[in-house]
Amino acid sequence: MAERKVYMDHNATTPLHPEVKKTLLQAMEAYGNPSSMHSFGREAKALVENAREMIASFIGAKPEELIFVGSGSEANNTVLNTISCPSHGCECPVNRKREIITTKIEHPCVLETAACLAQKGEEVKYIGVDKYGKIDLDQLEHAISDATAVVSVMAANNEVGTIQDMKRISEIVHQKGALFHTDAVQLVGKLPMNVDDLKIDYLSFSGHKIYGPKGVGALYVKKGVPFCPFIRGGHQERGMRAGTENTLGIIGLGKAVEMRKIEMKAEHDRLLGLKNLLRAGIEKRIPDVSFNGHPIDSLPGTLNASFMGAEGEAILLYLDLAGIAVSTGSACASGSLDPSHVLLAIGLEAEQAHGSIRMSMGRDNTREDIDYVVDNLLETISRVRKMSSAYMHK
């Protein structure tokens, strides 16, 4: 057993905030069905609606513009399927445009849904990114046509942390008469987000990336934009998402957002400081390393590094033996055959992508953690490189 545990995989998921935990324990008593008319139901309903108001105000939305869903992935699937639903005989009142434009660095829940829709005959275009992971705005402007229904761009990338210029993208999209969807799962709760200021039409986010529970997400749908339910058969969420509400999850998400409101700014500055220390420590002590993602427009706690001649899964598992949790863009760790599509899209060679490690920090990480991680990275990288046929010339 490792003497110490350091969790640096917050972009994968976060631990529950202690205040969220407390709230969840209390909320377990409120077991009524929010659809019921009796006191049990009314109590649960009130708690759900409180959460809705809290979250709506946090992102600059009206409560009735927010739908609770099962995950960020469900939110993203819902939006893309809304666009294509007329093709499948659906008669809901959505607009007739069908084309979807997205980027090469989206989460698989967007890319695979888009690919599935393309197979069914929809038009889908993919915008490329530069070496920092910023999308090509010229390419975007040229790609949008009269047929474009929606442009879906993630606000911040989960792997390299790059944050897009949301204001500019929104302007371009709306000038061209299309709708703007953003997968903001990695951004909401880490940086300010206001759907009204940015004129966003659809926004997806999730509870478990911001110290809330797993299995709950939210989808913002601007009043008046097309919408087609992804899950049908109930009046919940005003008929926009059927299924008995995940009251516990929703209440937990509301509390998590409330805590973000209080802690976000200070935590942002603290995490940025830790990231700079981590990066400086790695640069100073480990040779032949490069960093991925935008140097400035990046999530405060996310650092992605490629170590030449060292394979990512081996690094991850040696660090795990030292109690350190990180993730990798190497194919070997994912069970797929290709390395990270994000790292390939920013122009990395396959071998650099195989040798990449993502460290994503959160509210529990300390300066001592940074020292411990840098020490262990140094040991691990030299250990892997000593065995490596790709580092023999050094």
Binding site: G312, E313, A314, L317, A331, C332, L337, A350, K386, S389
Partner: protein
């Protein structure tokens, strides 16, 4: 909660060899090899160099060193192979397969076997290299066989054997050999060979 997850992602044996790999070539080590084998492709995430010394009187592999760019199971499988093959007759060592390695490791996930278990192929390449260096060209099997799939290290001979064993389609060929399951660049050449061997061995029965 105090529930612990499973002790590790792979078997204990894999963990043991991952933490303490045997016979890795050290940077400052002078190892006068009699032959070497290089297989894999760093683009696919795994590459391996294997050096052997041969006891010429006994005809055995007397010592092995290796280096690999690869994941945990690549490291562990090469380590255990280097222990297995040491002291073996050249012919027996040549016959070691990825199945033997997998068995010794107590199992590996399916997707790991064909991309990370390269040690047996590196060893065969090294033994062929040994025969070539000794001028014993009649013993070199690899000279007859050409590697078609660089990622998984499948030769034309293996494709032909798979066809003889019943593979008739690309998918069946992949089931037999795992050819083209990594980068897929070899597919056109593989399809050509598949047709060639089907015609060569089975054109009569196909006509019937």
């Amino acid at each position: 909660m105090t529930t612990q997850g499973p002790a590790w992602v792979y078997t204990e044996k894999v963990k043991e060899h991952f933490i303490h790999p045997k016979n890795v070539l050290q940077d400052d080590e002078v190892f006068d090899e009699d032959a070497r084998g290089v297989v894999g492709n760093i683009k696919c995430g795994d590459e391996m160099i294997l050096l052997i010394k041969v006891d010429k009187e006994k005809g055995t592999v007397s010592d092995i060193r290796w280096k690999t760019y690869g994941c945990a199971s690549a490291i562990a499988s090469t380590s255990i192979l280097s222990e297995l093959a040491k002291g073996m007759k050249l012919d027996s060592a040549y016959g070691l397969t990825s199945k033997d390695i997998e068995r010794e490791l107590g199992g590996l996930p399916e997707h790991k076997i064909h991309c990370s278990v390269l040690g047996d192929k590196a060893l065969r390449a090294a033994i062929d290299d040994y025969y070539a260096r000794q001028g014993m060209f009649d013993k070199v099997k690899q000279q007859k066989a050409h590697i078609i799939c660089q990622c998984v290290g499948v030769t034309d001979e293996e494709i032909e054997n798979a066809v003889l064993e019943g593979a008739r389609t690309y998918a069946e060929l992949q089931e037999h050999t795992k050819i083209g399951t990594v980068c897929g660049q070899c597919k056109p050449k593989t399809l050509e060979l598949l047709e060639e061997y089907k015609t060569k061995h089975f054109s009569d029965s196909i006509r019937k």
